[in-house]
Assembly symmetry: C2
Homo-oligomer: 414 residues x 2
């Protein structure tokens, strides 16, 4: 983890400007993008490039692609470009020579980029590497458009407390939570009957349990609707992904775990349904394109145009729904149990799942062993007293580390 | 039409109290129900009876069922009961003797009931008889929960101007417009790409044009999802109903006619879809039960419980959508043309359609003649200069009358 790396290029202190207030549209939104060269980052900047007058780019960061980062910084007139991998600093600095764009490198500089005064920080660094910078963005007090999953899955209580302390505004960027956010807007928690996230059901939706048990990594990597990284594609096949999203939803929205559910919807058109006590169910739909939730997170409560395919229900003709089957998809059951257990259980779940997915991709365990290994790790962590309330990110990182050790120990038994 | 009837029991002037302000929930909502014994009225009072502490019933009205009206007035502790049919006044007065509930009768008294100070008037008198009382409710300045269609279809510009003048709050009560209202709440008109109402498609959805042309009243009266009166059931079979609802939507929501559309959805679960410029489509769903839109109209921006069946998408399994076919359902084309033409064209459309539907039910014309007769009437009205801007309800009523004469003339040619 890069969080303890030195800060070779400490950023000069910038005066903290007044935050842009809601409804004030006379000046551009100051926007930083953490993880600018990734999928969410490039989609964000694609949207920005279509109405550049609405945005003023403050900081862009990337982990290792210095060339692309420099090109994006120049194209969007960023004030600062930060590369996580310090060995790429010279490349970045040279590419930005004479542009007036500041360059910096290292994990500390990533965090400082997140602290630059901005109206909105797109927090799109994936995985554990995104934790420190996203926490920094949360402490900044502006809007945090959150695409990093670990902040909520592993560190939900700590992260939402940081958001509350700074008065920041948290907007989810993935499809399901953006959908929930849009149809929940302003709702009284008492009025909410249920928040139901949809799941595509993945490639094994109609497979028998025996067939799923024998599934290969190649089969699990064939996601029907989205093109994503290997880890999240496996999570979609096991429905662990939906379990992790339920945990995120628990931290994002003011409801108890009993009000959170999911439903299998193979077409991935409806992303979330919120039912209310009066019988109304509000749903958000869209063709699968991350530019829609990104546009929502940038422009809310307004809307900005996004060049996405229009939903054509008459052409789609049919939307289907089915109850998820926790017998065939035990990862969903295990994730829900961790959500109900609370405290650091989701952090253990997430860490153990990462170990398990890697072991599956390395052909060390079978597909259904993923859920089994995670469940065993949760039990072991509970026995060791590691499922407890965490008060800061370091607590979470310690639990995460322990969970990885425990699951690797268990793994040797497979 | 009852609008010129005398006022035998003029109501005493009641001091105008301060209107209940939003967010003020410490005292009950003062509610009047116009059309209390009808389907919407009884559903409204069913909801009221489940949380009586939230409501204080001001006035209840009915057209002719004095016995039921008196029973409702007593059960809900109304202050005033008004019967439209003056010949039933004695029955009402006797039933309310010694209850302390005031009784009145006649069209003028209906209008006065609508003017009684209230936080919300449920305007659920159907047809032309609802026009004057609903206009009175609009002038009152409180919330108008609108279930009467004619106010918007025939008199949209005049009615919305009356609402704007009084500062009243207009909430739609039928399923499709309530759905649109819920997912449009607070939206910037510029952000709206389209408002799409759903239509069940009626009993002739999958019929050929020839079969539809030969359809009998008995066949047209078999609505697949809703149990409604004969007139609206025929309108559902012809899709005229959806055309009328598009006209209502035009007056309710801040969009141009090009942004209004409809889609056939046989399951009648999704009631409206609103698409936004960022690709998001927000939809409202619910099992067919009017208590849901009524609860929305009463409690908005809060929600109140309604004892409706919960939507179970996994059990429903499949939702289907198809483009409406204006070749087989010409009434939709004719209604859209009237909407685009504007001015009093929708009033002519509505009046001619009433004449045509009655003629179809009386077996004087064939099913597809309904649209043809309406279209001919619109052409004749245009030639006579009757498609014009109306500035008050009397203008509308004159045009309505002329349209009935014209369509009856045309009818003799069939």
């Amino acid at each position: 983890m890069a969080v303890t790396a030195s800060v070779p290029h400490r950023l000069p202190e910038a005066p903290r400007e007044a935050r842009r207030s809601a409804g004030e549209i006379s000046r551009p939104m100051r926007l930083s993008v953490l993880g600018a060269t990734g999928s969410i980052g490039t989609s964000t900047l694609d949207l920005v490039s279509r109405t550049p007058e609405r945005f003023e780019i403050v900081a862009l960061t990337a982990q290792s692609n210095a060339k692309e980062l420099a090109a994006l910084a120049i194209r969007h007139g960023a004030k600062l470009a930060v590369i996580g991998d310090e060995s790429r600093f010279d490349e970045l600095r040279d590419a930005l020579a004479k542009t007036g764009i500041r360059a910096a490198a290292g994990a500390g500089a990533l965090t400082e980029a997140a602290l630059e005064p901005a109206d909105c920080v797109m927090a799109a660094i994936v995985g554990a590497a995104g934790l420190r910078p996203t926490f920094a963005a949360a402490s900044q007090g502006g809007r945090v458009a959150l695409a990093n999953k670990e902040c909520l899955v592993s560190a939900g209580h700590v992260f939402t407390a940081a958001i509350a302390r700074s008065g920041a505004e948290l907007l989810p960027v993935d499809s399901e939570h953006s959908a929930a956010f849009q149809v929940l807007s302003g709702a009284d928690p008492q009025a909410i009957d249920k928040i139901v996230l949809t799941a595509s059901g993945g490639p094994f939706r109609s497979w028998t349990r025996d067939a799923i048990a024998a599934a290969t990594p190649e089969q699990a990597l064939k996601h029907p609707n989205w093109s994503m990284g290997a880890k999240i594609t496996i999570d979609s096949a096991s429905l662990m992904n939906k379990g992790l999203e339920l945990i995120e939803a628990f931290h994002l929205f003011p409801v108890s775990v009993e009000k959170l559910d999911c439903i299998v919807h193979p077409q991935s058109i409806v992303h979330c349904l919120v039912s209310y006590v009066d019988g109304s169910v509000l749903a958000q739909m869209a063709p699968p394109d991350m530019r829609t939730p990104i546009a929502v997170a940038l422009a809310w409560p307004d809307r900005m145009g996004a060049p996405t395919e229009k939903l054509d229900l008459a052409r789609l003709a049919t939307l289907t729904f089915e109850a998820p089957d926790e017998e065939r998809f035990p990862a969903l059951r295990v994730a829900r149990a961790a959500m109900r257990r609370g405290d650091t259980a989701p952090a253990v779940l997430n860490a153990a799942n990462e170990v398990a997915v890697k072991a599956f991709l390395d052909r060390r365990i079978k597909f259904l062993d993923i859920a089994a290994l995670v469940e065993e790790t949760l039990e072991a962590a509970e026995r060791q007293g590691a499922i407890c309330a965490a008060t800061n990110l370091d607590d979470i990182l310690s639990v995460d580390e322990l969970a990885r050790i425990l699951s690797n120990e268990k793994l040797s038994g497979y």
